[in-house]
Amino acid sequence: MIRFDRVFKRYPNGREALSDLTLEIAAGEMVFLTGHSGAGKSSLLKLVALIERPTRGQLIVNGQNVAGVRRSKVPAFRRRIGMVFQDHKLLSDRTVFDNVALPLIIAGVGTKEIGKRVRAALDQVGLLGYEQNLPLELSTGEQQRVGIARAVVSKPDILIADEPTGNLDPDLSLEVMGIFRRFNEVGVTVLVASHDLYLIEQFPVRRVRLEAGRIAPEPQSGRGLDPGQLIDLEEAPSP
């Protein structure tokens, strides 16, 4: 589904965000991407969404080599990927309904079908009945859930999220992660970047830890981290 093969990403300013990264994520898998800020989590997600392109190496998403996707084909490529952002990127001058409907409008879906699917997506994130509200009338957690509804409304194969719980308190974070988990259970490949290790601990899914643009050795998934290791991971200065 997603395969990084010796991928490098160097930005014009010379910073190397990813170096020699090899990673395979199977269809229907859910993966937590962890690591310090600047470890390359966001860069990795940007490559998957074709917001950035690899400097070197091969990246295959949805069976497509991203190097072969021309600029004019990027929009069609992105429609198969749902994206959730830390700052949710909702349009503040449009209703919740219009925000969630945007990907469907772009895809040219009929008006009746849009209504049905928007309500279904809002139902899945528990926001049915908020269609006519403006995003700013909702709480931060609710806004994030609107962002998730928008990401899944066009039934993408892949759902990626960059620090989706960054601005949420622990209870809301747990709820939002639960929503991602439910989408994964119905077959969506989910890739979530987060540095919230306590939160990640609640879900028995694969973890990939990035360190300075490479994959760091990870303790075996499914087993709880001991508190000492957590502190070490969170607080230790990067080498």
Binding site: A49, I51, R78, R79, L102, P103, A107, V109
Partner: protein, 303 residues
């Protein structure tokens, strides 16, 4: 397909709604475009009216044919018949020497001195009115030459110089109107393009988000193109109104002026189809200006 049409209509109405949210700015932009379009439109009306007016005047360019003094009244009458038979002649009026003398006596105030003359010093005269289709300066010269060659004709009087001059002036104005129209069209493109550029900057976040969720360049550009169309349509309507207003303001003085020339000429405003063409030109310019600006600046905005 129907979803596509519905989407376009929504965008069309949506962009109008967005423009109405900033009513004052939209109004000012539309006014500027309208005035820029009104100037060539007014020049067009001026030229069109001048053409109509000179058309009437050119028919008034009569040739005066003085016959030899020895010619008899019968000879004059038969000559008048021959001239009247020509295709390029609309009418011939024969003024006999007796009639001419009578008129001269009453109009000139020299009646007493004329009485002193033994015989009538005036010749028979033909006033030849050329056909409307043959009123060009060139043709009039040809006609005059033909008349001059007729037997018994002494002098043919024709003043075509002013006709040529007027035609040259009109041609100059017409050319000026075209140049003004071209320059102002570029001006409209720049105005619309700049307005759209600012609009794109203000909606940067929205454009980024739309591109993030898979909106193509064409999709993102569409509302801006419709904005351009609305600006152009609004500008065209303003231009039509301004032109109509200008014509209304000029109607009085022009008809007084025409009256002094004993003409029933009345100034004509934009014809309906010309008005529609003006709206069409506005729409086309608005669309083109926004297309150029949107294509250029939307490329720069990437998430």
């Amino acid at each position: 397909m129907s979803a596509w049409i519905v989407r376009h209509l929504q965008t069309l109405v949506g962009s109008l709604g967005r423009l109405s949210e900033h009513a004052l700015a939209t109004l000012l932009t539309t006014l500027v475009i309208g005035i820029a379009l009104a100037l060539p439109a007014c020049l067009y009306v001026l030229v069109a009216n001048a053409q109509v007016a000179t058309g009437t005047w050119q028919r008034a360019v009569d040739l005066t044919v003085y016959l030899e003094r020895s010619a008899t009244a019968d000879a004059a009458r038969s000559l008048a018949e021959r001239v009247r038979a020509r295709r390029d002649v609309a009418a011939v009026e024969l003024i006999t020497k007796e009639e001419a003398l009578k008129e001269f006596r009453s109009d000139s105030g020299f009646g007493a001195s004329l009485d002193a003359l033994a015989d009538n010093p005036l010749p028979h005269t033909l006033v030849v009115r050329p056909g409307a289709d043959y009123a060009s300066a060139e043709h009039l010269e040809g006609l005059a030459a033909d008349l001059r060659a007729l037997e018994g004709v002494e002098v043919v009087q024709l003043d075509t110089l002013w006709v040529s001059r007027l035609e040259a002036i009109l041609e100059t104005v017409r050319r000026g109107a075209l140049i003004a129209a071209a320059l102002l069209a570029i001006g409209v493109l720049v105005i619309v393009g700049n307005t759209i550029r600012l609009d794109i900057q203000n909606r940067r976040q929205e454009i980024e988000v739309t591109k993030l969720v898979g909106g193509s360049d064409g999709f993102v550009r569409r509302p801006f193109l419709y904005s351009g169309v609305w600006y152009g349509l609004g500008g065209g309507l303003v231009a039509w109104l301004v032109t109509t207003g200008v014509v209304a303001a000029l109607a009085g003085p022009v008809s007084r002026l025409a009256g002094l020339y004993e003409s029933a000429f009345r100034i004509q405003g934009l014809r309906f189809d010309t008005g529609l063409a003006l709206l069409g030109a506005g729409i086309a310019l608005g669309w083109l200006g926004s297309f150029i600006a949107a294509t250029r600046h939307l490329r720069d905005i990437e998430p």
